[in-house]
Amino acid sequence: MQPTSPDDWKRVLETALLGAQAALPVSTLRLLFDQDPGPETVRRLLDELRVDWEDRGVELLQVAGGWRFRTRPEYQIYLDRLKQERAPKYSRAVLETLAIVAYRQPVTRGDIEEIRGVSVSQGVIRTLESRGWIDVVGHRDVPGRPALFATTRRFLDEMGLRSLTELPPLTEIERIMDLVDLPHTPPTERSAENVDQD
């Protein structure tokens, strides 16, 4: 097998991506070729590949770490039939804490409690930490030096997201909140899209 045409190289790309255990960035995929075709050509081939797979049960996705094949969510009900155990369901406490960390990061446990209006149990934090979705990125420089939590790269990967900006946009409530004239949140329309800059 000696690839010559673009289609041949697409096969090589496809094979590498199907066999990879992690997302592959374009910079790595360029190494597949006899002669580096440059990032643009690789991206074009990847786009073609994505289109080739469009009506299949598997799709090519661009995630945080690069490109990766995954099964389409519509097919999960069939795949679940083969599974021994179901994926864990998380409580609202866990999900709300995750949402606050994701959209407001970096946040302390106190920040989370302030927003939720209830205390956040250590178990909730530990659930998210042991899943590898959040971790401590520093400490706020106030008495007690509380830990600052942020979401991890793994969180993005497992959600199939390239960056925090791809999180579902916050509901427009924020716009209404501007009307309330918040003392410490400057009004912005783009804050939903700008979570990573918060």
Binding site: L17, L18, G19, A20, Q21, V58, R68, F69, R70, T71, R72, P73, Y75, Q76, L79, R86, A87, Y90, R92, A93, L95, E96, L98, A99, I100, A102, Y103, R104, I115, R116, G117, V118, S119, D157, E158, M159, G160, L161, L167, P168, L170, T171, I173, E174, I176, M177, L179, V180, D181, L182
Partner: protein, 277 residues
């Protein structure tokens, strides 16, 4: 169960509601949805994530404008729940009581005539902080639902990673002499804070011989002294070997024995008391 309403005695619930105006219209009766059957309290307490969540539910179900909350009926309704929860001896989080106090305070402040000097209307509204918190919480609550709906590995999809034909030979890290040098540089730099390490070329050669001799003695038995010298190394080599043995003796790594004068000298690793030659 008859729930006590925390309302002034002169007010029937109808009157209390009528005091409130929703969107300019007098509210004659609380919307039905605002009431939850009391026997469902336990389930309700479980269903809510806290006082903000409960308040949001009451507000949203009653279709009340969150920016213009009728404090009296809301507070009354909220207290009804808190009271009922306490009456049923349900374990009530302190936050619910704290919120009750906050609602009562807001309600009473709204009953007070506004001081004329309070010009900044919006800031003066005692509900502003509550509204801000409710909206922020609701936003995060919705965001949580969206994150939960986001396709997630293991639950909604699987990453593809088909078997790779050949097991790739495990690549071992490369180490160059340069790496070793740099490693040593770091060690020395750190160690210099405490004391100075001087390792000289000759000493190294002695150390190499020390290792070689230890290997020869590895079995634990005795080895004749003479056998430890490789004559092909020439005089310098012999001297270094000898220094190595002395060093080993000094570091108490080997035992040297001689049963009588001019008898063969034997060496063995320290600590091996057994088998005499």
């Amino acid at each position: 169960m008859n729930l006590p309403l925390d309302l002034p005695p002169s007010e029937t619930p109808e009157q209390a509601a009528a005091v409130a105006r929703l969107y300019g219209e007098p509210l004659l009766s609380l919307p039905l949805d605002l009431y939850i059957p009391p026997d469902a309290l336990e389930i309700i307490l479980d269903a809510f994530e806290g006082p903000l969540d409960l308040l949001l539910y009451l507000i949203r179900k009653a279709n009340i404008d969150i920016l213009d909350i009728p404090m009296a009926p809301l507070t009354a309704q909220y207290l009804e729940y808190v009271e009922a929860m306490r009456a049923s001896n349900l374990e009530l989080a302190a936050e619910y009581l704290l919120m009750a106090a906050m609602l009562l305070e807001i309600k009473s402040r709204m009953l007070l005539p506004r001081p004329p000097r309070a010009v900044e209307d919006e800031d003066a509204d005692p509900r502003a902080e509550l509204v801000r918190r409710l909206l922020e919480y609701e936003q995060m609550k919705l965001a949580a639902a969206k994150i939960d709906a986001q396709p997630r590995e293991g639950r909604d999809f699987e990453w593809i990673g088909v078997l790779v034909a050949e097991k790739v030979v495990e690549r071992l890290p490369e180490v160059s002499l340069h790496d070793l040098q740099l490693a040593w540089l770091k060690i020395v730099r750190n160690a210099r804070l405490n004391r100075h390490h001087t390792v000289q070329r000759e000493e190294l050669s002695v150390r190499e011989h020390m290792t070689g001799i230890l290997r020869r003695l590895g079995g634990g038995g005795f080895v004749v002294f003479d056998a430890l010298f490789d004559r092909s190394l020439g005089a310098p080599g012999l001297v270094v070997s000898f220094l190595a043995i002395l060093e080993l003796v000094k570091e108490r790594l080997v035992d040297v024995t001689q049963s009588a004068a001019f008898a063969p000298i034997y060496l063995r690793l320290s600590g091996h008391a057994a088998d005499e030659p």
